[in-house]
Assembly symmetry: C2
Homo-oligomer: 141 residues x 2
């Protein structure tokens, strides 16, 4: 099983490539300070997010794997399973693909393309493949 | 069946209260110009969104219905069902509730609280109730 990889950091955010690559390039983007809701983000955190995360990730993923479009979600539901919730702002980033992608011998197929993402379908890749995905993305920064 | 209601507009965004109130206060926030992806938003569109939509909606919904937290998603999957997709940037806003809310004799219960939102569960309210929800939200602006 692969360990998540830190792809890059900005002043306010950390981009983590997930071991579950059901959507090739799937990342989680974590705010680096303690903050539990989007309405409490500062102006600088928002502009760093829009310019250095959203713009960068969408452009780089298109270059790297020819992603068709992208799903962005900020949910934080899991934190509320605790009696004393400590939510931490983070975004889920799922590149979506109209055609399957073969990369390093692995086939990545977005079988729900044009529909809501699936949370059941998983594709846990090996450490070696995850590192190669990270390398490929970084080459296109 | 109720018609969606325009709650308010900013310079760049339009906030629409959905007839499906499975999550009380559920809205869709539409960008007012043609634009198909988040990476193409301008600086002004992002700052209008963060300041006048996200901050405002979270604060006002807490005041109006005591929402516990919020799910924000930008997906646009449906547009890609077409042969020639014309995606249009929009956000789905779902207030989430740890306790049920009774409003104007209707019970709103977030039976998936602390879990991912359901896309199957619907609560289509009457026009009258939808207008009362809109009025209550507007009172707290």
């Amino acid at each position: 099983m692969a360990k998540d990889i830190i792809l890059f950091e900005t002043s306010y955010w950390k981009v983590i490539l997930f071991e579950d690559q059901s959507y090739l390039g799937r990342c989680v983007i974590l705010l680096k300070r303690n903050c539990g809701e989007l309405s409490s983000l500062t102006f600088k955190e928002w502009s760093d997010f829009s310019e250095n995360i959203v713009k960068k990730m969408e452009i780089v993923l298109k270059k790297s794997f020819n992603s068709t479009m992208f799903n962005w979600t900020c949910l934080m539901n899991d934190a509320y399973k605790d009696k004393y919730p400590k939510p931490q702002v983070h975004w889920h980033f799922r590149p979506r693909y109209k055609s399957k992608v073969t990369f390093e011998g692995e086939i990545f197929e977005d079988s729900e393309f044009a529909h809501h993402y699936s949370r059941e379908r998983k594709k846990i890749v090996s450490n070696e493949i995850l590192e190669k995905i990270a390398k490929k993305i970084k080459e296109n920064f």
